[in-house]
Subunit: 315 residues, 6 copies
């Protein structure tokens, strides 16, 4: 199977039904090294909703991306990684439990084939069933988590255990992630309780808040992340609200005072030696993006950098 994107120097980017980066569509994982798919669920969103339209919004803007990554020695990502767009998982709006079951089943087909599993959200609750599929197939993972919020609350709205605010506590409880090899980056803003951040540390996660992120050297931070995860299989979860809303207005829980897209992308581009087995880019909500659709473009670019990270490992 070839997996080269349509050549935008030949056929204009606006021609054709958009897949991620104009990659081929596929219905299975045969011959693939990595699979892109959407998880269009926002039933776990505690405030803004509409992230169900995130995956297609990202696909639409991703046609602007080109295959060569100049930040990793002019790497052609698709020379080293056969990738296809597998469409979206099923979901059941308003029924979180059934939605989680459907997501896990879809993602298991990918993870069980030992194919790199790359998802677009959807709200952050979708990381939990995705992690269930990946961890069952690949073992407990190290988590690199970019977010303005810790998402390690215990319950929400009374005793609800599943929401966009709780996936990583569940993941730790279920042994899907190993907090001692995991790191959360970019936390900031006002808190519900004095323990919102310490609860992550109590679970064992390392936390780098936004102040530390913005005042640190990128090289040192990239090394620190690599040291934290070591050679464990890694799941990288990227919540778009980690960047300042000036750079990503189209998110569900914006938090002002964050890093720029340049600052975050430089960090991603410095990451090396990561054994990536799964990743997601979540919380893109096109209803809150402006006409320039810069949030969707940034989400697509983040995923392209993650593919480049994986391709770089394989070269």
């Amino acid at each position: 199977m070839t997996a080269n994107p349509t050549d935008s120097m030949e056929l204009p980017r606006f021609c054709g039904i958009p897949t991620f980066m104009r990659l081929p569509q596929a219905t299975g994982t045969d011959g693939l090294d990595a699979a892109i798919f959407g998880i269009p669920s926002d039933s776990g969103a505690p405030y803004r909703t509409g992230a169900r339209f995130g995956p297609n919004a990202i696909r639409e803007m991703s046609v602007m991306l080109r295959p060569i990554n100049p930040y990793r020695d002019m790497l052609n990502v698709f020379d080293h990684l056969r990738v296809a767009d597998l469409g979206d998982t099923p979901v059941v709006p308003g029924y979180l439990e059934e939605t989680f079951t459907a997501i896990e089943r879809f993602a298991s087909n990918i993870a069980d084939a030992e194919v790199l599993s790359c998802a677009f959200g959807g709200d952050h609750s979708v990381s939990l069933p995705h992690l269930r599929a990946v961890a069952r197939a690949r073992g407990t993972v190290a988590l690199i988590h970019f977010d303005a919020h810790s998402d390690t609350w215990d319950t929400y709205f009374g005793e609800r255990r599943d929401s966009a605010g709780t996936p990583f506590r569940r993941a730790a409880e279920e042994n899907l992630v190993d907090p001692s090899k995991s790191i959360q980056i970019g936390l900031r803003g006002s808190l519900f309780s004095t323990t919102d951040i310490s609860q992550s540390r109590a679970l064992g996660f390392e936390v780098v808040d936004a102040d530390e992120l913005l005042l640190s050297s990128v090289d040192a931070l990239a090394d620190r992340i690599a040291a934290r995860v070591g050679d464990a299989p890694v799941f990288l979860s990227f919540d778009m609200d980690v960047v300042d809303p000036a750079f990503a207005p189209g998110v569900q829980t914006p938090e002002v005072g964050g890093p720029s897209s340049f600052e975050i992308l430089r960090l991603l581009r410095q990451l090396k030696g990561i054994n990536l087995v799964g990743c997601d880019v979540v919380e893109t909500n096109p209803l809150y993006d402006g006409p320039g659709k810069i949030t969707a473009l940034l989400a697509a670019t983040v995923m392209a950098e993650l593919l480049a990270l994986a391709a770089h490992m394989r070269r």
Copy 2:
């Protein structure tokens, strides 16, 4: 308790925290004839979501409305009807069952006090728990249902019985509404199955589709509605998508080819002799409304006409 709105000839409409029509806020029903409240749930929405922001969007635009209704003999609605804004029901995003319980409990406080219960949605699924509260307190109701869709499907997304597409089948099954005294108005557009409309008739509802609505005399239609419901207690459910999306772009399931706001308002203004005990105006989604916010303004105006209908009865 006085229930006069703030006078916009004295204090500009943009001054102050907006309640419906600048009415007083209240936490209970003491001294009220009618209670306005929001049901900000969109967990039952099968396609677009965001109607959770509907009630406050409608409040914001409702400040443009004035108390005198020239279509009912210069009636001052609030001379005859003491009304307050009771805020919103609780909801639990992503958990429909718990949300329904919370809605029913909130609405029961109103219905049990025999106060006219007036809600803003939210998606159309919220009519079901609202009807449960009203029917338990007031008895089985006649339903006047304005909508582009019948909302009488049995299940959605596999075996899910609750969604914005199913409330009125449930209501008929639970004997909350008496289909033989009920009427659906405005249905149109493409269908999932050949029985989408006949299923309503099979349940006993009278159906007036959009073609018939647009080609009929308003007077005759108003008489027909009044004859259908007779002197039964009436619940009027108004889905904003019944009007053409040119007049209400901010809805969740737009259906082109519908009536104008003039055509629908004239019909509402002709209704007489209706024993209204509950009503809702649902499916307003401000994320899809344009900057002019005309959908929210129309939703507010429809509710004001329903209050005038009730006030007219009491005069």
Copy 3:
């Protein structure tokens, strides 16, 4: 002086700094039959503001209009009427009295030269100083007033006598308009008091409300207007909110349930034998118009029809 618009079959409409219908700019009235100008004041707006940007928004969309009017025997408006765009009057934001002085001075230069005075608002308060200039030069005028509101209140916000809600009471008091030859068309919606409409009639205006407008024959209504104004000098004031907000969302006080643009334009196109000496098209607010800018296009079209009405008289 020639006054032909730039030919859009030769030079694309988006080329060049936009004037009304791509007409020449002028600084005085020499050689003109009609003068177009903007009155960018919104200091009299009781609710929404931003109509100060109306004139340029209308100029921008007016480049889409073409010189031949097929509704008046393929009349080339500019063969019969030499027209130029005189730019905008000065205004003083936040100081209504000084603003009125500046408007009246500007408009007097036009009216004193017996040039047809054609203004774009701005909020409706600007009609008053404009009428002062026109009536002083041309004598008391008959008023043809399209609007969803009567704008004949006495005061607003306590004892403020000038606002977008009061100009025509002032105009009647000052003998600028002769109510016995004047007519208001399109009034509708909820009212502040039971006398909102009767106050117009008490002043002597004839009133055609929206229901009557929508249910009448256009021919009969055009005749009725012509009969009402007779051969008096006429000022036609067109508030964009007279049409339904589906057709004009970009207004300051939208009122749902109104006529379509077709219905209003047909009426304008049927008008004949009117001795037009001044006119305005007011309350266009581009901040509330959607991306299609249909309100500004309609405002431009209405003005083009008024120019055609004047040109038709002169042919």
Copy 4:
């Protein structure tokens, strides 16, 4: 080949990469009765541009449509017509001639296979190469043309013979359409010259302007169209600006004062006995559509009605 759309009662409409009406994608015409494709060219647009994004915007909204058409006896369109989405033709932005060559080549594959050729524009210039392909394969066609403009100018911008304003003069000159069996419906608005409409008649087209359309009986008009085209092979070209911009703000040359979507859809639904061999729905420009995307939804609905017209013939 089966051609049933994805069932939206099972899988939510926002799940998956959108094709027209959730139909299967195909790369050729094998086994098809009708082929849907986009022509994303706006290089011929004399004013607004961006219709290159029209086809995908329409696909996105078309997922809201359902397969059963209640206006033609509960017809399931896809029981009688095997349809697939063939993606988009190539285009060369800024090079009209090369673009036309690419379009004609793509459309010829469909027309030569005697498959019903159904395109989304793109600006109206794309109808010309499409007609070349269809007429070469099927013979000179009768044209049913819905539009606010005649599009029969000779040249534009000096001596340019190809633009969105000229395709049907070219088509008549090249004998692609037979004007004596053709009809233009909905023309209105200001004109460049006194012959803008008579030029169509001089070419032999029958013309029904917007006033006549709005004041006529739908049944009589449907019969008149059917009589005009007789049993000739028919190409139906639908410019979205034929409806009022309140119903279709997202177009390139809006013209106020037009019919509603209900009025146009009723006419389409009354058409019978038409031997449709090709059609297009053009000039949808999502950059000017509001957040409700009602123009794209209407464009999709119009195409669904055209498929129903063809399916009805085959039943």
Copy 5:
């Protein structure tokens, strides 16, 4: 009186009529340490208008904020400061003088009770009557003024002494502020005259322009501000245009090339030992904010930081 916000972990943030940070509403100052209120006047705006809608737009977004401030030792602001939302001051659109009288009267009720007076604008002219109320009750204040513009012009539009460009010259003239203890931060951009900045210095203000702000150490600058104001009672006036329009597009006089929200928030969070008696956050205009509403969110966050500054002092 308790003043705890509604708990967003229990009741979703979109439930209920929004007050600032979901605080209780109050009609007087009894039992309060701080009072939040809106001043919805934009009659002093020399260019863009619409800031009258600022206070409610900020309330709407402020529901996203949580009570614990991690930048001041996990301070729960409301443990130390009893706060309520008092709604809006009256205003008289188009009549600046009367508006100022109404604002001063409203604010005096707060200042006379020695309650911290916290206002949302409105345009910057509203700071003058607010300062009059505060200075009369608390004595001449030190001013900490964040702004891209000095707002110390003498007159505007001829001899108008009141506008959004003049409040701080008036305040100095009236001895409401002591320039020798005051500082202006963030000035930048093109100027009307060569003395636009030196006029501030001539009045006695210290000025830190945007270049100096961006190239300085935050710690040093925070110390410098604290040293400047000493132990005088302080009024902090925050014009949202001080940040770059990428971070605050919804302002009335945007000035490109400014600091990020992170840079400004870090400075506010470093401030210590300030005897705050009044503050405002002005010039938020939701009509120019994008759908993400990031300007309103930033304005709310700035006010939350000012409350934390005051709460920190009291702890």
Copy 6:
């Protein structure tokens, strides 16, 4: 000829038909030192289109700019440089060759008079005919090129030699620019081929990519640019996508991860001793700008800085 802008302290900025910075309009170059004009062509745009509306969008926002530049010793630009707005060049949509001819002819009138030629695009293809006019009159120029992309591809879409991606290769081939004295600044993002950047260097251009730009000292970089161009006549071409899309969302090919407007403006303000003979600011597309119109404001500000650079030289 005087060339002072309208005084915005006297006449509000929203009064009058907007020209660049409220400068006088002119039809020729008599008495001018610099001429501003628009090139409203987007026929060369390979992806997004609509930059044809860029020049008027920039004019509209440029009224916010004031004449004094504080970054160059309180320079009043118009004391040293007589400037007027010459309107727009003709263009022929869809016909690139004819468009280029029209642009070159228009620009030659300016360049031949040795007047500083300052254009707003339009897409980047328009720099080529502009450079042809300037280089023929002034000799081969040194190019200072700000852009996220190199725009030195050879062909696009098959063998098309003219597009927004190719102008500077053409300019080098035609000896319009001397690459050995030229520099490209800000390149970043994914690439079509491994040689996208080296192709610029192979042509002789110096390249400073975004990483180097963001991590360099502004002073050193300004010196490096000055050294590179020496005393050659300079053309400065500024593609708005060089800044991050958070600061300029309204562009045609956004590229995330770029510099802020502060960072770029500081560099422009540090430039000294440049013999500027022509410049352009291109790729502003208002259809993708948010309601705050910050891209157009930044484009206007960049041009004002370029005028200040030229005025500074002449002082």
